[in-house]
């Protein structure tokens, strides 16, 4: 597949930076900012210091005006850095959404009275189309809305949505009937039944998701916010408590002055978990955006978080674990027939078979046995594969060539009056199946000629991927329509933990329900309509963009590349989002230790000079100590923006090791970093002063 990924735009690109800068000021509007309560409090604090600064210009303040002014500036910067981080995270998505919106220009549609190519049409605007309308789309026209092809087949260019330039076939019936509004028909005509009202189409949803307009806070985000709000409230009370305590201490010590409002406000902002609160919205948006870079659209942030929790991964064998196609690798004759005879029959039975398996049989027969036969005799009649007979083949020259699963082929030859089935057939079939390959039995009339060995090719590197998942505590289950023997062999080779053989849609649904009953979070991928119930049941349901409309509606994540291995990336991003939140929370709170050692001695020194002992950083003056803490508190936000947008690096390792690892970096680091930072800033202030 040649995928044209959305062009990666650097966040330092001026196309993103400029609008983000403007947006970050718009976001200062309290009506918007209150959605982030911690930063809202910081904004109030900034207003208070600004007011104090104005008053201090008239000489009504104890501290020098330059100090109050600088504190106010840096508090405002703290808020702006946070809104800027959010705007930056939204920026990339917005750029992409704008380009999508271009494709949604005023499209007209040919509405039909009934789904019939001969029926007359009326031309209407796309916004007038409603669910269950029928429209005719001809070559070169844009499809006006999401829908299902109900008649005809066409080549469709979906690059507007997927970035994939190679056109795909969309046809009525089967699993390739869904079309997306905004894509273009290149050849042939189709009739589409509209399945979404204007404003609710896939493209609409995609745009609003990318823009972040409809982004709701996820439950986990809210729970974290509860913690942050509670901490903020406590620190507010701590600061409020210092005021009367210092007033009393002034009286008792007979010297010094009580802590001023400016210093209290500065202390409050430094203590409040501003670092994480400022970056929290950006982390979630950036996570969705990272998935989008991988051409995956999450329909809710909740789905991505759930992906981080997944314990059981249901993977379709075909396309995920094995390369999509099985290949014929050998002809094994039975019942005294020659290999040549078998090859000829297999070739005949497969000549009209356009499936990759069928083509690989033709190729093997030609290559190994030098057979020719590009065209069938004119009298040939193709017997297509059907779910009932589970056979396919050709009738020609009075002969009936068939190939199919062992039991169905045997049943078929019996109906033709076969007296004896070669005794070694079962052995051969079993041997091939046990080796993880698919035995395809070939017959000509009532004779079983032999078996074609169709081998599954396991994707390179997949074992390591499963090993990683196992170390993260995620169990992989392979889903396959194969018989248990074949399934077991492939499962062993690919090193999945479990498999479900001969799986029907209801078996998948049951497997999901059983796992959920046991308390597990289940993720699965699917594309067919018959996957829809299982997708709807799964906690994380990834639908392929090539899939049917019902499958896409049942899913909460859509993979535009239709590459089932993406599930692993989604899990990774989900974990990254949670880890980034946790790590920055720990970092933010650990920072407070150093800030205390900077501010407490500084603000109480006039009352109790002996508190100088607590000034372990040896900061120059009380004012520069407080200012350094405020500046560090503000500056750490933009410094951590890249980390918030990228997410903390994900390492597959057991939980406990991961915890210790992250605690050392973000916990211990969070205690040490501000000591270094505040001291550095203090030295710099000293150079200017």
């Amino acid at each position: 597949m040649s995928i044209h990924k959305p062009e990666p735009i650097s966040i330092f690109d001026s196309r993103i930076m400029k609008p983000a800068l403007i947006e970050s000021f718009k976001k200062l509007d309290p009506r918007q900012l209150w959605r982030n309560p911690v930063m809202f409090c910081v904004e109030i604090a900034s207003v208070i210091t600004l007011a104090t600064f104005v008053m201090s210009l008239t000489g009504a303040n104890r501290e020098p005006a330059w100090f109050t002014g600088l504190v106010s500036v840096w508090l405002w910067l703290t808020v702006i850095f946070s809104t800027f981080a959010e705007a930056l995270a939204e920026g990339r998505g917005k750029a992409r959404a704008a380009s999508l919106r271009k494709t949604r220009t005023d499209v007209t549609a040919k509405r039909l009275a009934k789904p019939d190519f001969t029926s007359a049409f009326t031309t209407v605007g796309a916004n007038q189309l409603r669910k269950d309308d029928f429209i005719l789309v001809e070559a070169g026209e844009l499809i006006a809305g999401d829908g299902d092809v109900v008649a005809g087949a066409a080549l469709v260019n979906e690059s507007a949505v997927t970035g994939e330039s190679a056109p795909v076939v969309r046809e009525s019936g089967g699993d390739r009937s869904a079309v997306t509004g905004g894509t273009t028909v290149i050849a042939n005509s189709i009739i589409v039944r509209i399945t979404a009202n204007p404003g609710e189409t896939f493209l609409d949803r995609m745009i609003s998701l990318i823009e972040g307009a409809k982004r709701r806070k996820t439950p986990n985000e809210i729970a974290l916010e509860v913690l942050l709000i509670a901490l903020t409230l406590v620190f507010l009370l701590v600061c409020a408590n210092i005021s009367p305590l210092s007033m009393y201490s002034v009286k008792a010590a007979g010297q010094g002055s009580p802590v001023s409002l400016t210093v209290l406000t500065a202390l409050f902002v430094c203590l409040a978990p501003t670092t994480i609160a400022a970056l929290l919205p950006a982390i979630g948006i950036a996570g969705m955006d990272r998935l989008f870079q991988k051409n995956v659209i999450a329909l809710s942030g909740r789905a991505i978080e759930a992906a981080g929790d997944v314990n059981v991964l249901l993977l379709d064998k075909t396309g995920t674990i094995t390369l999509g196609n099985r290949e014929a690798v050998a002809f094994v004759p039975v019942g005294g027939h020659s290999e040549q005879e078998l090859a000829e029959a297999a070739l005949m039975a497969s000549l009209t078979d356009e499936t990759p398996e069928g083509r690989s049989i033709v190729a093997l027969a030609k290559q190994k046995h030098g057979l020719k036969g590009d065209a069938l005799p004119p009298d040939a009649e193709t017997i297509a594969f059907s779910a009932e007979t589970r056979l396919s083949g050709v009738n020609t020259g009075g002969n009936r060539y068939r190939k199919g699963a062992a039991d169905s082929t045997v049943a078929f030859v019996r109906t033709l009056g076969a007296r004896a089935i070669p005794g070694e057939l079962t052995d051969v079939v079993d041997r091939i199946a046990r080796a993880g390959a698919t035995p395809l039995v070939v017959s000509c009339d009532a004779e079983i000629l032999g078996v074609v060995n169709l081998k599954d090719i396991i994707k390179g590197g997949i074992q390591e991927r499963f090993q990683q998942l196992r170390s993260m505590g995620i169990k992989t289950v392979m889903i396959t329509g194969d018989n248990p023997l074949t399934a077991a062999a492939i499962a062993a080779e690919a090193q999945v933990d479990d498999f479900l053989a001969q799986a029907r849609p209801e078996d998948k649904l049951r497997l999901i329900k059983e796992n959920q009953e046991a308390g597990y979070m289940v993720a699965m991928t699917g594309d067919g309509t018959n996957d829809a119930p299982a997708l709807a049941q799964a906690d994380v349901a990834v639908a392929m963009n090539t899939g049917t409309q019902p499958a896409r509606e049942a899913a909460n994540i859509i993979d535009l590349d239709s590459n089932p291995t993406k599930l692993l990336d989604i899990v990774e991003v989900g974990k990254q989002i949670l880890m980034t939140r946790g790590n920055l929370t720990t970092f933010s709170i650990s920072n407070d230790v150093a800030k205390y050692f900077a501010i407490i001695p500084a603000m109480l020194l006039s009352i109790y000079p002996q508190l100088e002992v607590l000034n372990i950083m040896h900061l120059a003056t009380p004012l520069s100590a407080i200012l350094s803490a405020v500046i560090f508190n503000a500056i750490i936000i933009p410094l951590l923006v890249p980390l918030a947008l990228r997410g903390t690096k994900f390492r597959p390792m057991p939980a406990e090791k991961l915890l210790i690892h992250n605690l050392l970096i973000y916990g211990a680091g969070g205690i040490i970093a501000p000591f270094v930072g505040i001291k550095g800033i203090d030295l710099m202030i000293g150079m200017f002063a």
Partner: protein, 586 residues
């Protein structure tokens, strides 16, 4: 520490830890309604009680009904105790003819005993009759302890149960707790205390001649009202009597701490010998320690119980080490005067330094609040230890029941952050921690701290409140901080030095005790209700193990950091400045 002190401390810890598993398992049986070795004797009493009171033992309650029952029961207890205190002069068993309490003092005392705080703004021997002590205070020592344990058990069920809204029956839990756990242990330990010389009688106070009469100048006023002194010689002394042992045992066992006498466990009739001293510390820590094991058994993960206990013991051990170090160092200002050695001010010589410090750590680590030494007389840093242990929220190991549930709320918060750090939506014991759990655990953990911050702030700008300080300055600030910390966290011990029987402390203190007791209790029940309804997520390699050392250390760190961040400024104006001043030689 001397070899003897090492031996005493270690032997004590070994004996205490040895009791954890058997008592824990026994309590698990009691609260799961199973038969125990005491059933043959007690089951008939239990059945009779339930029949008389109309309690249907299989009728379970959801968290709201459970919380309502707790509140209702405690309201009834408050009313009855308030009535006893206000009517004391009319009631029997009052040989000293004590008058009724003032309503402010009665309010404060009734709330104090209902909330398991046992803050005493009165002196037992000079204000409370035997009837008040036995029918009023001692009964409350049992039921307030049982209330705390019942709530803890309901919370444990919240973790243990799956997909139900039911947390058990409060009346059954409370009754079984009193009958099977508190009464038998109290009975045995009261006898042990009597054997050591703790009094148990209804006698009138004894007046005995002094061996050596004392003569001193007593301040008084002359006819015109001018202050003068008069020479007085005291030849005899009044010795208070009373049913002390029966109250002493439950005072420690139920982490109540309200002394029969004002001197509390420093009084020779409450705590006569080194052995009785160690028995009392043992009783204080016994149930809070053993409940961690009950927790482990009931949630089906005994390692988790040990991990929680490990956190409690670790915090206690650190505290003990700092306190012991500070007191051993003594006071350099006293040393200048030529008195070297450890700081023995306010300590009972018969208990020794390590024994005294162990009592201090135990009584403030739990919400007991009995005292065997004057915390006011500790060195500044030493005094910060009892204060700090209280301010941490009474979790190491905390009051009976309340310590465990507050610790579990801390664990929920610790799990939440740690869970995020490993990339999963956090889960504890197989239960997902979501918005409701976060709200409730945070309220549980922070309610008392918030009360302390607000009320101590108000006190410092209220002249009447400041006037109660015996030692104005940073030490006085510590006294006020300690008072509100003690009341809000339901500890009940006093830093001494503060005259607390004034309206300001009586009334605001009552408020602090009520909020500190019932807000966390209701919040933690709400959390349990939400947890019980969740399904169980089986652990996998990706699950954070919460029953191993790394998590236990993380939990310890979270507790210490939350406590330090909340109270560091206040402490720096109190004990820290005092310590630095002392080192500065002033």
């Amino acid at each position: 520490m001397t070899q003897y002190e090492w031996l005493q401390t270690i032997l004590f810890l070994v004996l205490l830890l040895a009791a954890v598993k058997p008592l824990g398992a026994f309590m698990a049986k009691v609260f799961q309604g199973e038969r125990t070795m005491l059933s043959p004797v007690l089951a008939p009493c239990e059945n009779l009680l339930f029949r008389v009171c109309g309690v249907k033992r299989d009728e379970e309650m959801d968290w709201k009904r459970y919380a309502a029952a707790v509140l209702l029961f405690n309201l009834a207890l408050f009313v009855s105790l308030f009535a006893i205190l206000m009517l004391q002069h009319l009631l029997p068993l009052n040989p000293q003819k004590f008058p009724a309490f003032t309503w402010q003092l009665a309010l404060n005392t009734a709330i104090s005993f209902v909330t398991n705080t046992n803050w005493q703004a009165y002196s037992g021997e000079s204000a409370a009759s035997y009837f008040t002590q036995m029918v009023g205070l001692a009964v409350h020592n049992f039921v307030s302890a049982a209330t705390g344990i019942a709530v803890a058990i309901a919370v444990i069920r919240g973790f243990a149960r799956r997909r139900t809204s039911m947390l058990g029956n409060f009346w059954v839990d409370m009754t079984r707790c009193t009958l099977y756990v508190l009464l038998p242990i109290t009975l045995v330990s009261a006898l042990v205390l009597v054997s050591q010389g703790v009094t148990q009688n209804f006698s009138n106070y004894k007046t005995v001649p002094l061996v050596q009469p004392i003569t001193y100048d007593k301040p008084t006023a002359d006819a015109k009202g001018n202050p003068v002194t008069a020479r007085v010689t005291v030849k005899e002394v009044t010795i208070p009597m009373g049913p002390v042992a029966s109250q002493e045992a439950i005072k420690e066992l139920g982490t109540n701490g309200g002394g029969f006498f004002n001197a509390n466990s420093a009084h020779p009739y409450e705590n006569p010998t080194p052995l009785s001293h160690m028995v009392e510390i043992f009783l204080i820590l016994l149930i809070p320690f053993a409940l961690t094991s009950t927790f482990g058994v009931m949630v089906g993960n005994t390692r988790q119980g040990w991990a929680i206990l490990g956190v409690m013991v670790l915090i206690m051990a650190i505290s003990f080490a700092v306190l012991q170090g500070a007191e051993t160092g003594g006071n350099p200002l006293v040393a200048k005067l030529g008195v070297h050695g450890v700081n023995m001010e306010g300590k009972e010589v018969r208990f020794g330094l390590a024994g005294t410090n162990l009592f201090s750590v135990a009584t403030t680590g739990t919400s007991c609040g009995a005292v065997a030494t004057m915390h006011d007389s500790l060195t500044p840093l030493g005094g910060m230890i009892p204060l700090g242990l209280i301010l941490l929220g009474e979790i190491a190991p905390g009051g009976v029941g309340s310590g465990l549930y507050t610790m579990l709320a801390f664990a929920v918060i610790a799990v939440f952050v740690a869970g995020l750090m490993i990339g999963r939506t956090p889960e504890f014991l197989g239960k997902k921690i979501e918005v409701c759990e976060m709200w409730m655990s945070i309220i549980t953990v922070l309610a008392a701290g918030v009360v302390v911050l607000i009320l101590s702030g108000i006190a410092m700008i209220t002249p009447k409140a400041v006037a109660s300080m015996a030692n104005p300055g940073s030490h006085g600030l510590s006294e006020v901080l300690y008072a509100f910390a003690s009341m809000a966290n339901n500890n009940g011990s006093a830093f001494a030095g503060l005259s607390a029987n004034v309206n300001f402390y009586n009334i605001l203190g009552s408020l602090a005790m009520l909020v500190g007791r019932f807000v966390p209790a209701v919040a933690v029940l709400a959390m349990a209700g939400s947890l019980a309804e969740k399904k169980y997520v089986p652990p996998s390699l990706g699950t954070l193990p919460t029953d191993k050392v790394p998590f236990a250390l993380w939990l310890t760190l979270v507790i210490l950091i939350v406590g330090a961040l909340t109270f560091f400024p206040a402490l720096s104006l109190g004990p820290i400045v005092e310590h630095l001043t002392m080192l500065g030689g002033k």
